[in-house]
Every structure is written in structure tokens, then in C-alpha cells.
Symmetry: C2
Subunit: 165 residues, 2 copies
């Protein structure tokens, strides 16, 4: 009523068909809302450019977060509700579940390995073991950063991210 009539006509909800609009066919907001109502018309050109810039940036940011949230949802099995907050909540529970299970599996591996070494002490295990036991020390979830200094970790994280992916 007081602002411009931004009836974008967003057809369904947050996600139409739930996995199908990841990065393609995002033409609904760009066609309906921007080029018809805004985009340097019916506004004086001095402040319209910065407003349009801010608007476009905000639109991009919103879409990026929604895409990430959607990708998170498809990375997590067993989603309780198709909500944003529920998606994050289920992801948290799933992460904690995976962490606990990993601790369990590692304890079990250590148990099995120690038992095997105890039973057969002179065995040549370096030949047969598939290198997985040494590589699990360098995993990212075993480091547990102290989480108190948000500085100077950018370089480490960046090198790790590019090293893994």
C-alpha cells in the first residue's frame, strides 16, 4: 500500500518440486518482479540505481542461501518437515549422529586391530592393511579447533577446503 506493488506472483512456495530448481530455471523472480516493476523506471534515476543495486544484491544473496539450504536438505536423509528451520535442525541431529557413529566405529576398529596384533604379533600388517588406518588421523573432524579465535583461520580453512574438494 505504501510501497510499490510488488506482486511477484510467486507461484508455489519456497521450493517448487523440491529438488528441481537448483541453479537452472530461476527465471521467475528475474522476469516477474524486476523487469516489470522496477529496473530504473518510475523512479528518479539518481537513487534508483543504488536502490536497484541493493535490491539485486539482496535478491542474489537470498537465492544463494536458499540454494545452500536446499542442498543441505538433499544431503541429509530423513527430513522431518519441509521447513527451513526444520531442515537445519535435522542437519544438526544428523551431524551429531554421524559424529557419534564415527567415534563408535573408530573404537571398534581400534579394538579389532589391537586384538589382531595381540593374537599375531609378528605379522606383516603393513603389506595387507589398506592404508586407511593412517589416513584417519588427518581427517577434519578429529582436530576440534578451540572455537575461540575467529581470526587467522581463513588461510588454513581455505587450503583445507581446496585440498579436500
Amino acid at each position: 500500500m505504501e510501497t510499490i506493488e510488488n506482486i511477484a506472483g510467486y507461484q508455489n512456495y519456497w521450493e517448487t518440486t523440491s529438488v528441481l530448481w537448483n541453479d537452472e530455471l530461476n527465471s521467475w523472480a528475474m522476469d516477474q518482479a524486476s523487469t516489470q516493476c522496477y529496473d530504473s523506471s518510475l523512479l528518479d534515476g539518481a537513487a534508483s540505481t543504488i536502490a536497484s543495486k541493493n535490491m539485486d544484491s539482496e535478491r542474489k544473496r537470498r537465492k544463494k542461501l536458499n540454494d545452500k539450504l536446499l542442498a543441505l536438505r538433499e544431503a541429509v536423509p530423513k527430513i522431518s518437515k519441509l521447513d527451513k528451520a526444520s531442515t537445519v535442525k535435522d542437519a544438526i541431529e544428523y551431524i551429531q549422529d554421524l559424529q557419534e557413529q564415527e567415534r563408535t566405529l573408530q573404537a571398534e576398529i581400534m579394538e579389532l586391530e589391537s586384538e589382531r596384533l595381540k593374537k599375531d604379533p609378528g605379522y606383516d600388517f603393513e603389506q595387507e592393511l589398506p592404508v586407511l588406518l593412517r589416513s584417519k588421523r588427518t581427517r577434519s573432524d578429529q582436530i576440534y579447533y578451540p572455537m575461540s579465535y575467529p581470526i587467522e583461520v581463513h588461510e588454513v580453512s581455505y587450503s583445507f577446503c581446496t585440498g579436500v574438494t
Copy 2:
């Protein structure tokens, strides 16, 4: 200019001191923004109630998603940036990393166990094994729901939400 001057004066950014305002001391928005500018004053009482109701619900929803996102950030050990989208992105990478590591560990466990059984076939492994091998079949990430029926899970999620907060 066209809306009411909602200068809430939010002191820093999305999160002040990053873990300290989980559910306590959220009095900044409730004191500054709501009770001074809105809350059934300087508006005609007919539409102000529904607007205030919608506003309050939206505020609650926003805070809930932010809390979940913050909890997700503290569940993920390595955060690249203190962004919302980056938080979700790092969570996705961490989840995929954990899933891959879990497959690796399970393969290794199967390898060790089959080797142990092959080497000592008549061993009483039911006594010594610490029950972990049977319980890993019933984990939640091994079930892989078909992800097609979003019904009849409302009660479960709701009772969990009220139990947590």
C-alpha cells in the same frame, strides 16, 4: 522514510560473541523495536492487531531459524566464514566428508572382521565383540527413507521442538 522508523540499533552483526545469545538475553529486539514503535499505538486498532500478530510471528520465526543456524555452526568444526550461506555450505561439505569417512571405516571394519574370521574360524566372537557391529545396522543414516511422504510426521517434529526449546 515510508515505513515507521524501526531503528532497532542492533549493535553488531548477526551474532554478538558468536555463542552467547542462544536463548537468553534476547531483550534487544523486544525492548527497542517492539514496545517503543509498534505494539498497538499510533495505528488504528483494527489493522494494528493483525499486523502486530504477523510481525511478532515473523520475528519469532526469524529468531528460530537464526538459532538453528547458530547451532549448526557450532556443530560443524570448521567454519570458513561467519556467513549464513557459508555456514550451510560448510555443513554440507562436513556432512559429505563424514559420510565418506563412515563408508571407509565400515569397509575397513568388514575387512578386519572377515580376515579375523578367516584366520580363526571357530572363535567365540559373540562374547568378545562389544555389540557395536549389530547396532550399526539400526542407525538413522542407513535407512534412507523414500523422501516422498511429508505427512504424518508433524506430531513427531512438534513434540521434539517443544522438548528442546
